[in-house]
Symmetry: C2
């Protein structure tokens, strides 16, 4: 691929995480990140649409996981349970990288504009889940409700996990149970 030092993208991601954690998102310029990664500011913006996106690389992988898990769920499974299953697999994946996830979460928590971007990614995840449910024949409104509910469980249990420890998947299971017994 590249012909200079390989994995420019990975170096930029690492540099950004370091700098955001060291001095904060607002005090870090795109040029700072590029410099630490040994590339040009222009190259940074060729890889990432903006300064925030560098923290949201894994989003597409999660979307694929959700989509495929929902689509391959047994046909008799309800919309809500299929959506929960999809997000539960995501939680289990993230469980494997607690260290990274926590550092990233702390950076996001400290910066409103990053929280904003995170909400957009979660909304996209819900849309993907809803579309997958649609592919199972679930009517639109039911699909959207189930998808957004599952993403809410995902989001709430994520932050609970970051703050309290344990396993993400475990918190997810607990929160899902609370949701089922809510009505």
């Amino acid at each position: 691929m590249g012909r200079w030092e390989p994995d420019a993208r990975g170096r930029m991601t690492a540099a950004a995480m370091e700098l955001y954690a060291e001095r904060g998102f607002d005090q870090t310029t795109a040029g700072d990140i590029a410099e630490r990664a040994g590339v040009t500011e222009r190259t940074f913006f060729r890889h990432f649409t903006d300064k925030r996106e560098v923290l949201f690389n894994g989003a597409e992988a999660l979307e694929n996981t959700v989509r495929e898990t929902i689509l391959t769920a047994a046909p008799e499974v309800s919309a809500l349970e299929a959506a929960l299953a999809g997000l539960h697999v995501c939680a289990a994946l993230i469980d494997e990288r607690r260290d990274f996830a926590v550092r990233r979460a702390q950076i996001i928590e400290a910066t409103p504009s990053l929280r904003e971007r995170e909400l957009l990614k979660l909304a996209r995840l819900a849309e993907v889940a809803a579309a997958a449910l649609g592919g199972r024949g679930v009517p639109e409104t039911a699909a959207l409700l189930a998808a957004h509910s599952a993403v809410t469980v995902f989001n709430l249990s994520f932050w609970h996990w970051v703050r309290t420890g344990g396993t993400f998947a475990g918190h997810f299971t607990d929160t899902a149970a609370a949701l089922r017994s809510m009505t």
Copy 2:
């Protein structure tokens, strides 16, 4: 208040809505808005923290409505029903200004960065609702789940209302019913 033409804020909001609708958010500069409103770009940024915020003036009013409705709900009402009641009142308020709401929704829909901001406002609304439920003695996880679920109902029925007509409150009631029967 001001000593020049009064209601600079209102003029800027109106100008921004016009320009965003006419030529799009990205093709509108803060200077354009200020000029049409008869003020300076600097004045625009004194009233609004950024170019997007101009479309989200009513957010605080909604938050107050949600908070007070939840806090004054009958004590025997469940967390979910209290949260739904709070958001239902908001829906009824917005029903009174369909024209404005639809124009605003079309602008937001056309611009990803505005969708992002809208999600942040909805998240804040959910946090306010959850805090109000906390004030009623609801445990944290249950409060967060109920609040976010109600906001999801609000959001989904809002877009359904924008696209199909009818009343926002009516769509809200239907979607809330679908949520209750989901589990």
